[in-house]
Symmetry: C2
Subunit: 114 residues, 2 copies
DNA sequence: GATTTATGCCTTGACCTTCTATATGTGCCA
DNA sequence: TGGCACATATAGAAGGTCAAGGCATAAATC
């Protein structure tokens, strides 16, 4: 997996990560796969973006991490959502909703828009 | 007009500006008003974000600027879209579409998502 | 008419945050 | 031995915010 570009606007990545982690404990590498699959290849997060993001989220107390074993017997750092993280997820999801609606309104503007 | 926060993810502002300018020549101040109104107050771009963005877009050749007079007799810098700018607008609008769909897919994930 | 105040309109510079690129390290498995 | 799964660190660019400042017109006050 060669992770090229994601073209995610800054700030969006956190939301997506929180969402994926909310589904159950996962390690970083799996998060990226999950995002790739679920978005049908549109969201491809390079490791250099993913891991710093995870660290930030952990530092902010939104995620908690612990080492554990993968099904295939490897060590990996599993993340789960804290209570604070869940609240943040809801907040960011709502914000995203608001934003996309607003942008949508703007993109539909035509010459007559009061 | 006290412009507080806009909370736009980075990279989105360009798209919105290009869109507004595409409707006809406008000056910066009016662009901000337009965005505010059209988004019903959700998108409030502070001047410190707006003007640097305009300068960047001009430097990239997507906008062309010239001083002119406002209807009320003031001097203002009017921006219009270049051919290159119009192409970029279409490109970014399509990208935004793609992105929102992808994010939407991810946000709808539940435990069963393959 | 003169003075203040508000408002329209533009600019810039220092700072912070996030994304990217890149390089490096380790254990598993073929 | 090599490749893959999984992680880390560092440095840099880009975009956004704040804060401050400047200037012109208009409205309000005296």
């Amino acid at each position: 997996m060669t992770q090229t570009k994601s073209d995610l606007p800054q700030g969006t990545l956190d939301l997506l990560i929180l969402k994926v982690v909310a589904l159950g404990p996962v390690h970083g590498y799996a998060i990226a796969q999950r995002l790739d699959q679920a978005s049908r290849g549109v969201v491809q997060v390079p490791q250099g973006s993913l891991y710093p993001a995870l660290h930030r989220l952990e530092a902010r107390g939104l995620l908690a991490a612990g080492w554990d074993q993968t099904e295939t017997g490897r060590d990996a750092k599993f993340y789960r959502l804290t209570r604070k993280g869940r609240a943040q997820l809801e907040k960011e999801a709502a914000g995203w909703q608001r934003l996309t609606e607003a942008v949508s309104l703007i993109l539909k503007l035509s010459e007559g828009g009061a």
